[in-house]
């Protein structure tokens, strides 16, 4: 007869039991058959949830961040590091709450950021390259995996949503600029074009025309943060971090609320309609 330990050995092949010989499976009280089905259930959930999260998060980013994430010549020092993390923290924060509150899994933010980046690249390949023929350089996306990992790490250390919002919410917004700059730095090399200075990103956007996107439509830095010299991006990063504190807590609470399981008590009218109770005599 298969013992609980055997089942655990299959589910967690290299994981040692706790000091008292307890494991997650043994403490959960699942029978060997149930444990097997629970693992199958895990795979089914992952298979269903990953495309769902990916599609929903990608759509959310397309609608709320839009051109800042789509085009390399929208990735400026002022608005891009501000708008993008503020919007992109929403789903990771909600997923973090769902995974942590219900399962104590500190992976929600990383799941959100990872599926977003994969889906975005798929979208760039299918929509921008195959369908419309724009070069990949014009549509290099942003990534928030660095910030999401920090959020999950903070959660596992702090184990408190409020402190996670304060420290990791801020970190999510703040590291967006430096963590993306490493990937995008070559696109800010200067070139001379028609007697004027331009960055390579400007040149890419200019050279491969988007007919319905004239230059003035770009919502990019216009020099109004000049007071801060060339530190514009850090000012934006700090402000993004500040706003992300509140966004994280708001979306954590939304995620927690949305993942609750509640039951509504049926009234007499519903019960009688469903045949669960005889109709009261009139």
């Amino acid at each position: 007869m298969t013992s609980i330990t055997d089942i655990d050995a299959v589910a967690i092949p290299k994981r040692k039991a706790g000091p008292k010989g307890e494991t997650v499976i043994s403490v959960s009280g699942l029978t060997p058959g149930a444990a097997r089905y629970s693992r199958m259930f895990d795979f089914l959930v992952v298979a269903a949830v990953v495309p769902l999260f990916a599609g929903a998060f990608h759509l959310h980013v397309m609608l709320t961040v839009g051109d800042w994430d789509m085009y390399v010549d929208w990735k400026d020092r002022q608005y891009w590091p501000l708008v993008t993390p503020i919007s992109m923290i929403m789903f990771p924060a909600a997923l973090q709450a769902i995974f942590w509150v219900n399962f104590r899994l500190p992976i929600g933010a990383t799941v959100g950021a990872t599926v977003l980046l994969i889906t975005t690249w798929l979208g760039r390949y299918a929509n921008w390259w195959i369908w419309t023929g724009f070069p990949f350089t014009e549509g290099v996306p942003s990534q928030v995996i660095a910030g999401a990992l920090l959020m999950d790490m903070a959660l596992i250390v702090l184990r408190n949503s409020l402190f996670t919002s304060i420290f990791a919410g801020f970190a999510f917004g703040f590291v967006f600029w430096p963590s993306n700059y490493s990937a995008l730095a070559p696109f800010y090399l200067p070139v001379e074009h028609q007697g004027m200075v331009a960055s390579l990103a400007d040149m890419i956007g200019y050279t491969f025309p988007r007919s319905n996107m004239p230059e003035y439509l770009r919502i990019i830095e216009r020099g109004t943060l000049r007071t801060f010299g060339s530190s514009v991006s850090w000012v934006s990063a700090a402000f993004a971090g500040f706003i992300c504190i509140f966004m994280h807590q708001l979306w954590w609470q939304l995620g927690r609320f949305a993942s609750q399981t509640t039951f509504l008590k049926n009234g007499d009218v519903v019960k009688s309609f469903m045949g669960m109770k005889s109709r009261p005599a009139s």
Partner: protein, 381 residues
Amino acid sequence: MRTRTVQFYDVHFSKTDVKVNERFELTGKFRLMEDWPDAVTPPDIVFVSSVSPGPTIARVETYLNGEPARQSFAKLELGRDYDFRMVLEGRTSGSSHIHPSISIKGSGPLVGPGQWINISGDAHSFAFPIKTMTGLQIDDLQTFGLTNAIGWHVAWLAVAAAWLLFWLVRPLFLPRWLVLQKGREDLLVSLRDTGVGIIVAAIVLVMVFGGYVRANQEYPYNVPLQSGLNKVAPRPASPADAEVKVISATYDVPGRSMRLATRITNKGSEPLSIGELTTANIRFLNQGLPAAIANVDPTYPRDLVARTGLELSSDTPINPGETREVLVEATDAVWELERLVSFLTDVDSKFGGLLLLYTPNGKRVIAEMGGPIVPVFTELK
């Protein structure tokens, strides 16, 4: 609406058949109409561009009145003319319909006449080399920097995948939920897990700030995205040698005919003949005037030149100082095909256009005209 905003003229495509990587020029002029509609935002911020079905062409250089037009322009003047020049390059093989366009902030793009450009060759052979101000020679703007960007994204995905796998190999949803309900959180997240989390956080921070420092060392002379508005003066105003006043205007709906009663005054020193009525890219020519015919560029799209031409009540030249009333009739289905009869349903039923007159020597005089127009719904010619 389009008859009262931007009037393109002298539009010329240097080539209509090009190879991939071969350059061609699109040149022309436009007049910003004095009687600008209230419903359209004035041209306070303007971008000169081309309209194409995606990036089938590459944009090499653009100019407005000789000034570089990579960025937008501030405050163009109504009633004045501007000339544009675009250097374009074939990128994707096939036929592409290319237009010049003037995009106005708040209004959108106002397109000029389009022409089919046939691009032949292998699209994969297209490359756009460029040299940076730091001396770096880039072979192709389409691919430069991509390896670095993808490399970083793959690196981040690898760290994320490692962290996810660290947790996903364990029993997940149902057992963990049951254990959590029993208050045994200690089994779900151990001190060892926390330690691993701290190590991953340290790796992330090293990647973030180490990568940032390295990028700054590798690219020390980077510049931010360039913005700001350019200024450009309009073309010098030509002497108003002709003044055209529209006395009355009707549009015969079933006959698709615009009839204008005009009062034309020759203020110049030479006789003037009416050669052309142009509005919203369509052209009605006085086919009896060779100078007007000669003014049609061979590359101008034929579907925008009305076959029936312009009918005039008086075809003799208007002498210097003379004022003459002339009935001008422009009849063609192109009014409907180009959707130019919106004045039938507009709140302000007005029209506009340019009347082109010629001296005996072929010198062209451009006069702006326009005013209210009355639709005639039942009259058949």
